[in-house]
Symmetry: C2
Subunit: 223 residues, 2 copies
Amino acid sequence: MSSTPPARYAVTPRTTPSRNRDRMRYDRETVHAILDADFICHLAFVSPDGAPVALPMLYARVGDSLYLHGSTGSRPMRDAAEGLRVCATVTRTDGLVLARSGVHHSINYRSVVAHGTAYRVTDPGEHRTALDAIIDHLIPERSADCRPATAKELAQTAVLRLDLEEVAAKARTGGVSDEPEDIDLPYWAGVIPITRTLGTPVPDPGMPTETPVPAYLRRLVQS
Amino acid sequence: MSSTPPARYAVTPRTTPSRNRDRMRYDRETVHAILDADFICHLAFVSPDGAPVALPMLYARVGDSLYLHGSTGSRPMRDAAEGLRVCATVTRTDGLVLARSGVHHSINYRSVVAHGTAYRVTDPGEHRTALDAIIDHLIPERSADCRPATAKELAQTAVLRLDLEEVAAKARTGGVSDEPEDIDLPYWAGVIPITRTLGTPVPDPGMPTETPVPAYLRRLVQS
């Protein structure tokens, strides 16, 4: 990150869809904003027998890299020591789109698809930074308010790094797209918003009852 | 579906993780309940150059099959005419789990991973049934209250079928799992519930203002 990164990711055949190209975005700001708005990605890789696999994983973005968290025993983590071809996809759903015609029903969504080679993080400093980033991505400010990982715990936790190079965002926003001749049909049409909400924190029963909810959690739940 | 399906899906090496086996479920009831609780899956496949790809897709379950909706022009849809190896993964997030130690932070979630070969649906009757199922999975009862697809529209819409055979559910539920020696540490610990909410329907501006919101939509939004 010492040099200034370009404002847009390169457009490649892999990141150019055959349809709906108007929904694509390649600028870093949009890609980063979508990645920062979720915490679960689906990581696709090819298993040794040639079959595709997609697994959900926690992640965080740090600059132009994604850090992915998994068990040291899981297949992608074992296979990634020398580099594993992956595709990491993040999708947030924002609305149900009800058109007058069946085929124009859709959803509003924001997604990012990142292609590349993921590597297992081996540098202890980067390893710790990545785990803290994943915790703070779930719950901002939390990594400074819990017991840090020991060296042994770090060794038992695998983190993959995927540098963002071949990456694109795709989004559908706005209202209904009906055929002009369907506009007067007597069906309700419109959008139903979808929101994700964090509820009231449920304290662990083993905690003293007077333990206050930290300010960073109160802010998170209200946001 | 004429014979009674088994109550459990077969356990295979592919559906047996190396860790956290206590989180796995293979019974049809659990697998179906998770599939029915979401409407976006991530479909992994291997592109012709050997690279893995994961794309978000709408889906619905009908019996022991998943129907996946995509553009006829998209790569997996074009490639699936003669069968495409895929992995379809569905993940719902239910809570942020804040442990006293950094490494035990986690999330509560429910996921299903289905492996198999997907085929493009070519039978017109099955095609229409699948599209209606996908609409009704997003919005129950909706397919009967919109304009049905024409034959031409059906031809422009691709649906894949993936039969559920090698499939498993994985879930984390419950509270914090801390090391016994960490229980008295002075950090807040507990679970923050995550819920997905449907908001007030936003009518399309082109609709007459007196158009009532249908009962099935009012029920959906209140549920």
